[in-house]
């Protein structure tokens, strides 16, 4: 039984939390349209000139391209391995199944610093082959947490799916591959898309693991951080951050929509 007073205070509290989370984001988006190159409130005037400057900034551009490449590759790897792992774990009972589940999910709970240091030390100090930082090392670093995202989405979907569906498919004469192609894959497809979008968004703005695995390369978030630290090109940084926010919020929103109900399995 909640009184009117508690209801109102709950609403105010919720509002405050939402504001706390969103005001900085909104602020930086507003600054992106600031006509002055000095950040002060209120903004001096409305302008889109920094968008033009940022667009023609070669450093920002190459950072963006590197980030998109890394996110693209990491997401692809995550889709492949995450789906395979999810299918194996939910379809089969085998020795060490629980351990594998734990090991798969662990990277997302590990602090990025730990993952970063571990990977960095492995790349440079492993006894077999010294791996120099490259796009490859960034992709491997990002894949560690992207796999979990896809895996979790697919496992959740498979858990909600009747196990008898694959049996029915086999019963009707479809072999393992046909069953995967015609039944399993379509049933998990929206979970896959959602997982991929989330993984892409996470990879795009990852800083910590990237710092340890990128070497001298600059991804978009690292470029932002660098400029921020040196206090350079701040208006352009605002524009790039605005861009990153949009690039992250849109996929996450779509992913949330896709997994809000059971996707194709949802009731009318």
């Amino acid at each position: 039984m909640e009184t009117t007073a508690t209801r109102i205070s709950l609403r105010i509290w919720t509002l405050l939390v939402v504001l706390f989370l969103w005001i900085p984001l909104v602020l930086i988006c507003v600054y992106a349209f600031n006509s002055s190159n000095i950040q002060s409130w209120p903004i001096a005037g409305f302008s889109t000139k920094w968008f033009d400057t940022a667009w023609h900034n070669q450093d920002a551009r190459s950072a963006l391209v590197l980030s998109l490449k890394a996110a693209g590759f990491a997401t692809s790897i995550a889709l492949l391995l995450g789906t395979a792992a999810a299918t194996a774990v939910s379809r089969f009972r085998f020795f060490g199944r629980d351990t594998i589940t734990f090991l798969l999910v662990l990277p997302i709970a590990l602090p990025g610093v730990v993952t970063g240091i571990a990977l960095n030390s492995f790349f440079s100090n492993n006894p077999i082959h010294h791996i120099t930082p490259s796009l490859r090392t960034i992709v491997i670093g990002h894949a560690t947490f992207c796999i979990v995202i896809v895996y979790n989405n697919v496992v959740a979907r498979l858990r909600r799916t009747q196990t008898s569906l694959t049996e029915a498919s086999m019963d009707l004469g479809a072999d393992g591959w046909q069953t995967f192609r015609f039944v399993t894959l379509p049933v998990v497809s929206t979970a896959l898309v959602a997982g991929a979008l989330l993984a892409f968004a996470l990879s795009l703005d990852e800083v910590i693991v990237t710092t340890f695995t990128a070497g001298a390369q600059t991804t978009l978030p690292i470029w932002i951080l660098g400029n921020l630290r040196l206090g350079q090109q701040l208006p352009q940084v605002n524009v790039v951050v605005f861009f990153v926010i949009v690039m992250t919020v849109i996929p996450v929103a779509i992913a949330a929509r896709l997994t809000r109900d059971t996707g194709i399995l949802r009731r009318r």
């Binding site: 569906l165 029915a168 019963d171 479809a174 072999d175 039944v183 049933v187």
Partner: protein, 353 residues
């Protein structure tokens, strides 16, 4: 390996075209310490409506899954039309299953669901469409092809699951409590419907193997049935056989009412409708007293405590009795009489199985 121990069986099934569609030989299946199916032997003849009846956990569904190929037996073998299929995958067996939860593919239309088996076997599109159309007509749902399973009622989904299996014209159709999720009225309708469909498709000769825990369903639908208990078969026979000559106490109790008496060292059962009840309490028969009365509309069920020990359930049609008459008879002394040919000897429980 199994064929070496059973050479004569093998030569028989190889030379004479067998009329047996499904044969289980000493099949055993365990899950850890639990024995789900314990050395079951079973023969289902071609074209038969054969029911596996038993309480939950008695091994009937596991037996069905062993026939379908979803489970592999630890011991024994499974034959379909005389061919050993024990180690074959489900998609290499000429059987189709109607699942308890229907297992319709949610992302496909009804027509695509029904056509699935034909599609993975590369049946040409035109023939596929023709056969789907045909089978939807047989199950009397000709117009739902374009819908998604989610848009159908429970009864309709049940029929589509049936159509999806039947369209492949399998040798054997396996049905795993297919009517379990339907309400009573719909269930009774579907019972008649299933029999009609089996007759209608019988030119291709489809054998039905049906799993249920509902004894009434088993008795009304089956040509023969096997009664399962704790992983073993207690009795195989026609419904009349099993009902009127229950071989064990378990069968007597599970199929119908358990009316077991022990007199002069003899354990036997009498079916409730075979017992005459003399309400005046005099004359021939065993004396007793009515302990309980249940008025069921068409008939009344009396539980009578016998003076010489034990109790029997008696059923009387309400020809002239009203419900008040029936209920007032509680506590009255009666005599029960039955003909010796209506009694059947029981094996002692746990004596031999």
């Amino acid at each position: 390996m199994a064929t070496q121990t059973l050479p004569e069986r093998r030569s028989v099934s190889a030379t004479i075209p067998s009329a047996v569609d499904v044969r289980l030989l000493g099949v055993r299946k365990t899950y850890g310490d639990v024995v789900a199916v314990d050395r079951v032997d079973l023969e289902v003849e071609a074209g038969e409506f054969f029911t596996l009846l038993g309480p939950s956990g008695s091994g009937k569904t596991t037996t069905l899954r062993l026939i379908a190929g979803f489970e592999r037996p630890d011991e024994g073998r499974v034959e379909l039309s005389g061919v050993d299929v024990t180690s074959r995958a489900p998609y290499e067996r000429d059987v189709n299953t109607v699942f308890q939860d229907y297992a319709l593919f949610p992302h496909m239309t009804v027509a695509d669901n029904v056509a699935y088996g034909l599609r993975v076997k590369n049946v040409p599109r035109a023939e596929r469409r023709q056969r789907v159309h045909e089978i939807l007509r047989v199950i009397r749902l000709p117009d739902v092809g374009d819908r998604k399973p989610i848009q159908l009622s429970g009864g309709q989904r049940q029929r589509i699951a049936l159509a999806r299996a039947l369209v492949n014209a399998p040798k054997v159709l396996l049905l795993d409590e297919p009517l379990g999720a339907l309400d009573l009225k719909l269930r009774q309708e579907m019972q008649t419907e299933l029999k009609r469909i089996q007759r209608e498709v019988s030119e291709v000769g489809i054998t039905f193997v049906y799993v249920t825990h509902d004894q009434e369903e088993a008795l009304t639908m089956s040509d023969r049935l096997a009664v399962f208990n704790e992983g073993r078969i207690e009795q195989i026979g026609t419904p009349a056989d099993v009902y009127e000559h229950p071989a064990t106490e378990f069968v007597a109790g599970f199929v119908g009412v358990s009316n077991v008496l022990e007199r002069d060292g003899r354990r036997f059962t009498v079916r409730p409708e075979k017992i005459q009840m003399h309400l005046d309490g005099t004359g021939a028969g065993e004396p007793g007293r009515i302990r309980d009365v249940v008025y069921v509309g068409m008939f009344t069920r009396y539980v009578v405590e016998l003076d010489s020990g034990g109790e029997l359930t008696v059923v009387k049609q309400n020809l002239e009795t009203s419900s008040t008459d029936a209920l007032e008879s509680r506590g009255r002394p009666v005599r029960l009489e039955w003909r010796p040919e209506h009694t059947f000897d029981m094996e002692r429980p746990g004596g031999q199985a």
